[in-house]
Amino acid sequence: MRRTTLRAATLIAALLVTAAVTAGGIPPRPEKLTFPPLTFNVPDPGAMRFTLDNGIPVYGKSDRLLPLITVQVLFRGGAYMVPKGKEGLDAIAGKAWRTGGAGDRTAQQLDEDLDFLAANLSTSIGNTTGSVRLNILAKDLDQGLKILMDVLTRPRFQADRFAKAKDDLIQEMKKRNDDSADIERREWSRLVYGDDFWINHLATKASVDSITADDARAFVASLIKAGNIVVAVSGDYDRAAMKTALDATLGTLPKGDSPLPPVPRAAQPAAPGVYVVDKPDVNQGRVSAGELGVSLGDPDEFALRVGNDILGGGGFTSWITKRVRSDEGLAYSAGSYFSFPAQYPGFFRAFFQSKSRTCPGALAITMKLIGKLRTDKVSADELKTAKSSFIETFPRRFESAERTAALFARDELMGIPHDYWKSYREKVAAVDPGAILQAARKHLHPEKMFILVVGNLDEIMKGHPDYPAKLTDFGEIHRIPLRDPLTLEPLSEQ
C-alpha cells in the first residue's frame, strides 16, 4: 500500500516535471534539443581515379540526377612562367583563350555553336595552375569534347577579341592606387616575397602593349601537354563510356617533352622594420604585421590553423578582434591569418584598420597578443570552439560531385596527398594547447616582423594621448613611394 502510494507520487511528480520541461515533447528552449551525431565520410579518391591512354589521370564522380556533364581540364603552370617584359600574359591569354575562337571557328562562330549546344565553356590561368571548364548536356558530350579539344590545341586569339582582353586589363590597372586596400595588398606581397619573386612581377602598360597573340598561343601550347594535366569529370555519365570518349579526345594529347620548370620558392622577405606608404587623403590607417611562413603540409599546419583561429581568425571570440575591436573600439576590422600555398611558402599576417592617430596604440595591443600565443597556453574552451568551427564546416567542401572531383584532381596536380582530407578532422581534433604553444614559438617572431602602414603618416606619427605607443617603437621607419599605376615607377613625393 505504502509502496503503491509512493510509486504513484513518484509518477505524478515525474509527470509534473515532464510537463514543466516539455509541452507535447517540445523542449522550452532550443538548447534542450538533442541531435543525432552527424556522420560524414570523405569520398574515396582512389575509387574515382582512372587514367587515359596517354597517362592523364582523371577523377570522376558520376551523379545521374541531372543530364549534365562537367569536364574540367586542370593544368600546371601559370603566372610564374611568364617571361620578363611580358607581365600580364597570364591574365590576357586566360581571357582571350575563350573569347577568341578556336579551330575552324571564328570567335563569333564559337559563341554561336556553344550557345546552340547550351554549353558553358570557360578558361583561366592563375598563379601556378589554370583550367578549362566545360559544362554541357550529357547528350552533347561528344560535340562538346571536340570543341574543347579545339580550344585546347587550336586557339585562334582573334585580333578584335585579343585587343579587347588587353584593353580590359589596362582599365583594371588604372585603378591600382584608387583604393588603399589595393596598395596594401601590393606592397605587402613585396615585403613578404621581395621584388624579384615572380608574384611581384606585375603587368605594366609597356608589358601589356608588347603582348601579341603569338605570345598567348605559345604560352598556352607550353601548358597543354598530357604530362601536365589532371582532369575532373562529374555528372551524368557511365564510367566506361566516359573513358572511351576521353581517350578519343584528351587521351590523344601528346605527352610533351620536358616537364615545366618548378615554381620558384626562394623568397627574399624584407628586413624587420616599419614600412610606410603615405596617403594623406585618408583618415584611416591600414596596418599589417607579419613574416614569411610555411607551405601546405607543414607539420605545424594544423596547430597554426587552430592557434590562429584563437589569435585572430575566429571572429568575435578571437583575441585580436575582441581586444582591438570590442574592448577598445579601435578598429572595425582586426584579425590575423596564415596563408598556406601548396607550392611556395605562405605568410603570417595580423592586420587592422584604425583611425590614423590610434594606429600605433592598436599595433601595440596586436603585437602583444601575437606574443601571448607564444607564452600562454590557450584555454580548453577556446580550443573547443576553434576546433568545432573547422569540423562543422568541413563537409561543405564535398557538397557536390563537381566540387569533390575537382578537389581531388587539384590535389594530384599540386602534389597534395589525398590523405590530407581523410585525416583533416582528426588532425584538427589532435591539436592540443602544447602543440599550439610550440608551433607559435617556432613560426611567430613579433620582434622580427615587418610592419606595413598605409595611411596619413603625419597623423599616424602623432599617436594618441590615450595610448602611449609610437610608431617608432616598432622599428626603423622606411618610406615606400606610391607607384604610377601604368608604369609602376615610383611617383615623386608630393
Binding site: I26, L33, F35, L38, D111, D115, K139, G313, R396, S400
Partner: protein, 589 residues
C-alpha cells in the same frame, strides 16, 4: 494528412513533346513529396543525400500586392519583424518586456494623434515637407518621443540582441535570410543534416509566439533601407515611379518597400492584425531540400507546425485587376547613369499558358548571340553593354521589358527605333528553326542547372508555390520545349501593341560619372549588380562572404543570361573584399 507523389501527368507531357531529347531528360524530374497538415499548412520535400545539409524555408503567401493604402510596406516590415525573436528567444524576461511594449504602444497612440494634427496642418499649408521630420516636431511630440526613448532603453536591457540568429549560427546553420516581393515573403536557411529538429523548433516558435519587439525602431531601419535602396540610388527612385506609372489599378502599383508616409505610421496593432490574417498556417508552405528522412520530417512537422492553429478567417482574395492601358505612356529622367531606353508592355500572370512563348521570345532577343546584341551592338553600333529582354510574370499579372544603353554619339530615338524594329520583326516573321532550337536548348540546359544546388531548388519551390504553381518546377521544361514559332509570333502581335507601350528615357545628369565596370553592364544587370554590391557591403563575416561567393559562383551557370556579367562582376568584387577581410575574420556579423 495526405502524401502525394509527383503526378505522372508531367512525365506524359514530356514524353509527348520531347521526342528529340534523350531518356535522361525525364530523369531530371524532381521527386517532390507534398503533405498538407490539418491546420492547412503545406510541406514540400525533396530528398537529396549528396551532402549532409538541409536547405529549409517557408513562404507566406503575402506580399505588397496584398496591402492597401495606408499600410503599404507592411509585408516587407514583417520580414524584418520575424527576426526579432519570440517569447523565448531574444529576451531575458518576456513578461517584463510585454508591460513595456504595451506602454510603448500607448505612447505611440498619443503620438499618432499629434501626427493627425500635423497632417491636417500640412493640408492647410501650415506645415511643409515630411511631417515626421525633426523640424516639424511639436513640443508635445518631443515630449512623447523622449518618453518613448526611455521606454525603449528600458526594454533594451531585457533584450538578447540577435539571439534568433545566434542560436542557428552556433548550431552550424548558415545563410539565414529572407526576402519580400510583390507576391510573397520567404524565409530560409541551411542547417546540418542532424539539426532538422532545431529548424522546426525555431520556425514554429516564431510563427506561434512571435514578439514584434523593437517595432518602432525597426520601422526606422526600414525607412533607412528605403533611403539607401531607393532614394539614394540614382536609378531606383526613377524605376519606382516608372513602375507606378506602368501599373495603374492593380496593387503592383505601389513599391514593395512601401510609400514613406505609410512606412512611418504603421502601428503594432496593424501589425498584429496583418500577422493574424496572412501568417496563419493555411497561408504558408514550408519546403525542405536535402539530406533527411521524409517520414521523420513529416512527424516533426506535425509535432511542431501542427500546434499552430488555423487562421480564424481565410486570407482575403486579391481581386483588383489591371485596367487596360488606352494610350502609350512616356517618362524621362536625368540620372547619374549612362543614357538608356526601356520599353515595357503588360503581359500575363505566372500560370498563364502564354508565359512560355513570352519566355522563349525573350531568349531570342537576349545574350551575346541574341538578336538585340547582334543588331544594336555588333551591326549598328548604336548600343553599348548588352541590351536585354525580360518577361516578368508575377502572380496576378506580368510585364515584358526590353532595354539598351545608348552608345556615344547616338540618340535615345535611334535606340528606341532599333528596339522596336526588333519587336516588329518578331511580329512579321516567324523565328527560324535553328534560332528557336538554340534557345530551347539553352532553356532546357538551364532548367537542369537550376536544380544543381539544394538551395536554388528550395528557392524555386518556394517562389513557384507563391506564384501559384509549385509544379512549374517539373512542368515548365516540357512546356518551353513545346513552344512553336507561330506562338512566338502570335504573342508578339498580341501583347506588344503601340497603345500598351511604356517608354522610359534616362539621360546622364550633367557632371556625373559612373563606376567604369558597372558602366559596361546593361540596364537590368547593372541594377542587379549595384544592389548586390550594396548588399555585399553589409556582409561583415568572411565565412558568410565565402559562402555567398560559392553560391554566386555556382549560381552563375543558372542565372538568366542578362545577369551573368553582373554576377561575374559581383563575384570578382566579393573575392577582392574577402581577400581584404580574409584574415579578418574579425569583422562584425
Amino acid at each position: 494528412m495526405r502524401i502525394h507523389r509527383t503526378a505522372a501527368t508531367g512525365l506524359a507531357i514530356l514524353a509527348l513533346t520531347l521526342g528529340a531529347l534523350p531518356a535522361t531528360a525525364q530523369e531530371a524530374k524532381v521527386p517532390v513529396q507534398r503533405v498538407t497538415l490539418d491546420n492547412g499548412m503545406e510541406l514540400l520535400m525533396v530528398e537529396r543525400h549528396e551532402s549532409p545539409t538541409i536547405s529549409a524555408g517557408w513562404v507566406a503567401h503575402v506580399g505588397s500586392v496584398n496591402e492597401r493604402p495606408g499600410i503599404t510596406g507592411i509585408a516587407h516590415l514583417f520580414e524584418h519583424m520575424m527576426f526579432k525573436g519570440t517569447q523565448t528567444i531574444g529576451t531575458k524576461d518576456y513578461a517584463a518586456e510585454k508591460k513595456i511594449m504595451d506602454r510603448l504602444d500607448a505612447v505611440r497612440a498619443q503620438m499618432e494623434q499629434e501626427y493627425t494634427k500635423l497632417r491636417a496642418a500640412k493640408r492647410r499649408g501650415e506645415v511643409k515637407g515630411n511631417i515626421y521630420a525633426p523640424e516639424n516636431q511639436t513640443p508635445r511630440l518631443k515630449e512623447l518621443r523622449a518618453t518613448m526613448k526611455e521606454l525603449q532603453d528600458e526594454q533594451h536591457k531585457l533584450i538578447v540582441k540577435d539571439e534568433f540568429d545566434k542560436v542557428y549560427t552556433s548550431e552550424g546553420g548558415s545563410g539565414l535570410n529572407a526576402f519580400t516581393n510583390e507576391d510573397m515573403t520567404v524565409f530560409f536557411i541551411t542547417v546540418p543534416a542532424n539539426k532538422l529538429e532545431l529548424w522546426f523548433w525555431m520556425e514554429s516558435d516564431r510563427l506561434l509566439h512571435p514578439v514584434f519587439r523593437e517595432f518602432y525602431s525597426e520601422r526606422d531601419v526600414v525607412r533607412e533601407e528605403r533611403r539607401m535602396r531607393v532614394e539614394s540610388d540614382p536609378i531606383a527612385k526613377f524605376e519606382e515611379q516608372f513602375g507606378s506609372m506602368f501599373w495603374t489599378s492593380i496593387p503592383y502599383h505601389h513599391p514593395v518597400i512601401g510609400w514613406p508616409s505609410d512606412v512611418e505610421s504603421i502601428s503594432r496593432q496593424q501589425a498584429d492584425q496583418f500577422f493574424g490574417t496572412f501568417y496563419a498556417p493555411n497561408n504558408i508552405t514550408a519546403v525542405l531540400v536535402g539530406d533527411f528522412d521524409p517520414k521523420n520530417a513529416v512527424a516533426l512537422a506535425k509535432k511542431y507546425f501542427g500546434r499552430i492553429p488555423r487562421g480564424a478567417h481565410e486570407p482575403p482574395e486579391m481581386i483588383t485587376e489591371e485596367i487596360k492601358q488606352l494610350q502609350e505612356k512616356r517618362m524621362s529622367a536625368e540620372a547619374e547613369t549612362n543614357p538608356m531606353v526601356e520599353i515595357r508592355w503588360h503581359t500575363v500572370p505566372f500560370v498563364h499558358k502564354d508565359k512560355y512563348a513570352l519566355e522563349i521570345l525573350s531568349s531570342i532577343l537576349n545574350g551575346r548571340t541574341g538578336r538585340l546584341y547582334k543588331s544594336l551592338v555588333e551591326k549598328q553600333h548604336l548600343a553599348t553593354g548588352e541590351p536585354y529582354a525580360w518577361n516578368n510574370s508575377m502572380k496576378y499579372d506580368g510585364a515584358f521589358e526590353i532595354g539598351a544603353e545608348v552608345a556615344d554619339g547616338h540618340t535615345h530615338q535611334e535606340i528606341e527605333d532599333a528596339l522596336l524594329a526588333e519587336i516588329e520583326r518578331l511580329k512579321k516573321e516567324p523565328v527560324g528553326d535553328h534560332e528557336l532550337q538554340k534557345v530551347k536548348n539553352q532553356s532546357l540546359a538551364d532548367s537542369y542547372r537550376r536544380l544543381q544546388s539544394n538551395f536554388y531548388l528550395l528557392l524555386q519551390l518556394l517562389i513557384y508555390d507563391a506564384e501559384g504553381n509549385w509544379q512549374e518546377l517539373n512542368e515548365a521544361p516540357a512546356r518551353m520545349q513545346a513552344v512553336t514559332a507561330a506562338e512566338v509570333q502570335r504573342v508578339a502581335q498580341e501583347y506588344f501593341t503601340a497603345e500598351d507601350r511604356n517608354i522610359m528615357w534616362y539621360s546622364r545628369k550633367a557632371g556625373t560619372t559612373e563606376d567604369p565596370e558597372l558602366a559596361k553592364l546593361s540596364g537590368q544587370a547593372k541594377q542587379a549588380a549595384k544592389q548586390m554590391l550594396r548588399q555585399l557591403e553589409q556582409v561583415k563575416d568572411p565565412g558568410q562572404l565565402q559562402q555567398i561567393i560559392t553560391k554566386l559562383e555556382s549560381g552563375k551557370d543558372q542565372a538568366p543570361p542578362q545577369f551573368k556579367p553582373a554576377l561575374e562582376l559581383v563575384v570578382e568584387r566579393a573575392k577582392k573584399r574577402l581577400e581584404t577581410m580574409q584574415s579578418k575574420s574579425g569583422e562584425e556579423k
